[in-house]
């Protein structure tokens, strides 16, 4: 399906997008079972309830404006929609907004909304609604984290007319459209928001293909079809209401139980399958594997360059040269995960990757460590210097790392030991893990970050991100403080020329990788296993959450 052409004047350049008319988006059909959008067979069948079993933590609030994490995105994507979306090739396409244009100085953006769209409570989708939503995101009382940061450069939203909303920025933001494509900046009914956080957390009101009917904590959320649905994104397979009558969204924390339920037919779709079950399901006609890596950063190990011993670049490079993860990734993930050599996810078109920087070379590692002065040895082989041991603290969040990844970290520990590093792994619950991070009690750590677009590099590697928020949180775990990198990232964030943006981000990534601040592992794994009865499901190219508006159940 082609994207709707943009009607605004073409003489002005737009940051980060090519006119929609040039974006040729069609449903991509890939042979085989692995795809972001599997080939659908047969004609759509009306009716039926899809049962989805989620292994991600149950959200504490269904409104993605509050906080803003991936479990919220998974489910809110079924009933909330954003102003714009993204297609398979990475282009921004229309969704609730049918067209947009920016001013010359990039400080004002005007979005024209689609006509005749209503929220499921009858409130019309108009510019006033958009204004209310952005204010909701920026209001401290909402406790927004992800959406709040995404709107960081937006000062206010003005109502130009019923269907036109103007975003007034404090500085040019080349990532604005990408930020608005995320579920954490979705547009909800102002009347719904006005009910207050308690009510809105239980059942947010949006324009999506489904509506929240009830939420039984720790058990399931019942979603029913929105019969008036008319606002599918530009790359959807069809424009009308969903074929499914409803979705039963269950919370099943144990991965073996999830897979057993899928095998037994108790559920139709599961997420977070263990790698060995993916490998088993790949060869089985009864299941389809939907492989949809999350956008933003790759899964990587950050090295804390802000304190000893990693304030010395030679020691950082030695660690990276010593560690051997390729065999481990192969065997632990049963061939379902590919090694990454980039700080960005492979779904980001602007990802830059350099394999040569990460070749395992134990001799080089030992040489570097000798050069750096770590020449004495402890009784168990750990290197020492001036009486201090070469100890690396590695807090691991058991809530975020699957067992295969935790085992991979053990292999990192074992291979680093050969060069004389003493890696101490501490499995911690989420709050204790954050506590260790905030207190800088780590030398290496792995923390995922999902965001649409390369702007995530600014969040992770700009020196501004070293300063913690009042809560103690900071995103620059590598403590990277390089004025050159800062300049490149700041420049890329404000330029409106796509070619210049791409070049700046490439140079930044070269510096980040070359400084040996991180060890990329693989994409943020994000797989779904579907029963063969489920047709038409796809992963949204925005943040790779599943979309069932075009899905149906055979029989």
């Amino acid at each position: 399906m082609r994207a709707a052409p943009v009607t605004a004047t073409p003489t002005k350049r737009r940051a980060g997008i090519i006119a929609g008319a040039l974006a040729l988006v069609s449903t991509i059909t890939l042979a085989g079972c692995q795809a972001a959008e599997p080939e659908a067979s047969g004609d759509p069948v009306e009716g039926g309830t899809l049962v989805y079993a989620s292994g991600d933590a149950e959200p504490t609030c269904l409104d993605p404006h509050v906080g803003g994490n991936y479990p919220q995105a998974l489910i809110s994507g079924q009933f909330l929609e954003s102003l714009v979306s993204r297609d398979e090739s990475g282009e921004i396409i229309p969704w609730l907004a049918e067209s947009w244009q920016s001013s010359d100085d990039q400080l004002a953006w005007e979005f024209t909304l689609r006509e005749g769209i209503e929220f499921t409570d009858g409130t019309p989708l108009d510019a006033e609604a958009v204004k209310v939503n952005v204010e909701h995101l920026k209001d401290p009382a909402t406790q927004s984290s992800t959406g709040y940061l995404a709107m960081g450069k937006v000062d206010a939203v003005e109502v130009v007319s019923d269907r036109v909303a103007r975003f007034v920025l404090s500085a040019p933001d080349s990532a604005l459209l990408e930020s608005l494509a995320q579920p954490w900046t979705a547009i909800q009914s102002p009347a719904g928001i006005a009910r207050g956080m308690d009510a809105n957390c239980q059942a947010p009101i949006g324009t999506g293909p489904f509506v929240v009917d009830e939420w039984v904590k720790q058990d399931h959320v019942t979603l029913v079809r929105n019969d008036d649905y008319a606002s599918a994104p530009a790359d959807a397979a069809h424009t009308g209401p969903a074929y499914l009558e409803g979705i039963e969204w269950r919370f099943v924390p144990d991965s073996s139980t999830r897979y057993a339920a899928l095998q037994g037919g108790q559920v139709d779709v599961i997420d977070n399958p263990q790698p060995d079950t993916i490998a088993a399901a790949k060869g089985d006609d009864a299941f389809t594997w939907l492989d949809a890596p999350r956008p933003g950063a790759s899964n990587r190990i950050e090295l804390n360059s802000g304190q000893a011993p990693f304030d010395d670049e030679r020691v950082r490079e030695a660690f990276i040269r010593a560690v051997d993860v390729n065999d481990g990734i192969d065997s632990l993930f049963f061939g379902t995960a590919e090694r990454s050599y980039s700080p960005l996810s492979s779904v980001e078109p602007l990802a830059y990757s350099d394999e040569t920087l990460f070749e395992t070379d134990l001799d080089a590692a030992n040489t570097l460590l000798d050069e750096a002065g770590w020449t004495e040895r402890d009784s168990d082989g750990t290197r020492m210097k001036d009486g201090a041991r070469l100890t690396l603290r590695f807090p691991v969040s058991t809530n975020q790392s699957i067992p295969a990844e935790q085992s991979l970290f053990e292999q990192v520990q074992a291979t680093a030991k050969e060069a004389g590093f003493d890696v101490v792994i501490s499995p911690l619950d989420l709050s204790s893990w954050y506590g260790a991070l905030f207190a800088h009690e780590y030398e290496i750590v792995s923390a995922p970050y999902t965001k649409v677009g390369p702007d995530v590099l600014r969040i992770l590697y700009h020196s501004d991100s070293i300063t913690p928020a009042p809560s103690g949180y900071f995103a620059n775990l590598a403590q990277l403080d390089d004025p050159e990198v800062d300049a490149l990232l700041a420049g890329a964030a404000s330029t409106s020329d796509p070619a210049e943006r791409a070049a700046l981000y490439e140079q930044a990534q070269q510096l980040i990788l070359g400084g040996h601040y991180l060890l990329p592992l693989y994409d943020q794994q994000n797989s779904f296993l579907l029963s063969a009865d489920v047709q038409g499901a796809r992963a949204m190219p925005t943040v790779s959450t599943p979309s069932f508006s075009d899905a149906w159940l055979i029989d």
Binding site: D327, G328, T398, N399, S407, Q411, A414, P427, D429
Partner: protein
């Protein structure tokens, strides 16, 4: 007949009329079972003190290309997800696992003993007060106790031991108090009291010996229980620190791969069950000797 003669007659009748099987039990059962149990315990002790003697390979040597191999001559118990030899890891983990099991049980028993003795013999008010205290400990969920200790002091075998020990103490206290109450109203204590012996002497000479034996048996059971409890903590993400090859942690980690590699859970599990059974069998054999087969 005097009271003593009556007692003797009763005992004689007991022996005469008891089913023959029970008589045989006293004479023969300890042999085979006890020997096997003893051998296993010796293995455990050697594994604790000199694991190197029993290991076939380095327990922490990874070999990703040899991951998930079934038991074979090269790897008696197979390999785990990182290609490490499970048999050697099980041997290496004996000391930590036993330490957790024994220490947690000792903590629980010691606390339970103190509380139980106080409750059983401290007189009415002390009994009431201690009982309420025990009930407070009971009512406080063991899970929360374990979580608190671990969250505050960090994961690891030490905190897991303390957490498990504290959670099991109230259970032991209850059982011990029950034992003391039962013994207190039994015939020989009655006789001693009637004969005018001091309370302290009664406790030391009559109650403690008779109570300690079932408590000792209980303790040997508790060792296995404690290890399993600790492994549940590992399953919840709060347990041992890698790469420590603690049996419970190996069990929890291996569970993910149950359909791919059954040997990852079965062998550590067998060690736990084997430890429980062998210590219990030995404990009961010693108890029988202590009782003098009466």
């Amino acid at each position: 007949m005097s009271e003593l003669e009556l007692r003797q007659t009763t005992i004689d009748a007991e022996i005469a009329h008891a089913p023959a099987a029970r008589r045989r039990q006293r004479l023969r059962l300890p042999r085979v079972g006890t020997i096997l149990a003893g051998a296993f315990v010796v293995f455990l002790l050697v594994a604790t003190a000199f694991p190197v003697l029993l290991e076939t390979q380095d327990p922490n040597q990874i070999a990703p290309s040899e991951a998930f191999e079934a038991p074979s001559l090269a790897h008696w118990f197979g390999t785990d997800e990182s290609g490490r030899d499970i048999y050697s890891r099980v041997v290496e983990g004996t000391s930590t696992s036993l330490l957790i099991g024994v220490t947690a049980t000792v903590i629980g028993l010691a606390l339970g003993l103190v509380l139980g003795v106080l409750a059983g013999f401290g007189g009415r008010f002390v009994d009431y007060g201690v009982n309420r205290l025990v009930e407070v400990l009971f009512a406080f969920p063991g899970l929360l106790l374990a979580l608190l200790v671990i969250v505050v002091y960090g994961p690891g075998p030490v905190t897991a031991t303390i957490a498990v020990g504290l959670s099991t103490a109230p259970g032991y206290a209850r059982i011990i108090r029950g034992q003391f109450v039962a013994i207190r109203s039994s015939q020989y204590v009655e006789a001693a009291r009637v004969l005018g012996h001091a309370r302290g002497r009664i406790i030391v000479r009559h109650v403690l010996p008779n109570a300690l034996i079932p408590i000792f048996v209980l303790a040997t059971l508790g060792i296995g229980q404690a290890i399993v409890w600790a492994s549940a903590l590992s399953y919840l993400g709060l347990g041992a620190q890698p790469p420590a090859p603690e049996w419970g942690a190996m069990l929890a980690a291996g569970r993910t791969y149950l359909s791919v590699a059954w040997w990852m859970t079965v062998f550590p599990g067998l060690m736990i069950v084997g430890t429980t059974i062998s210590t219990t069998v030995l404990g009961r054999a010693l108890a029988r000797r202590g009782r003098g087969d009466a």
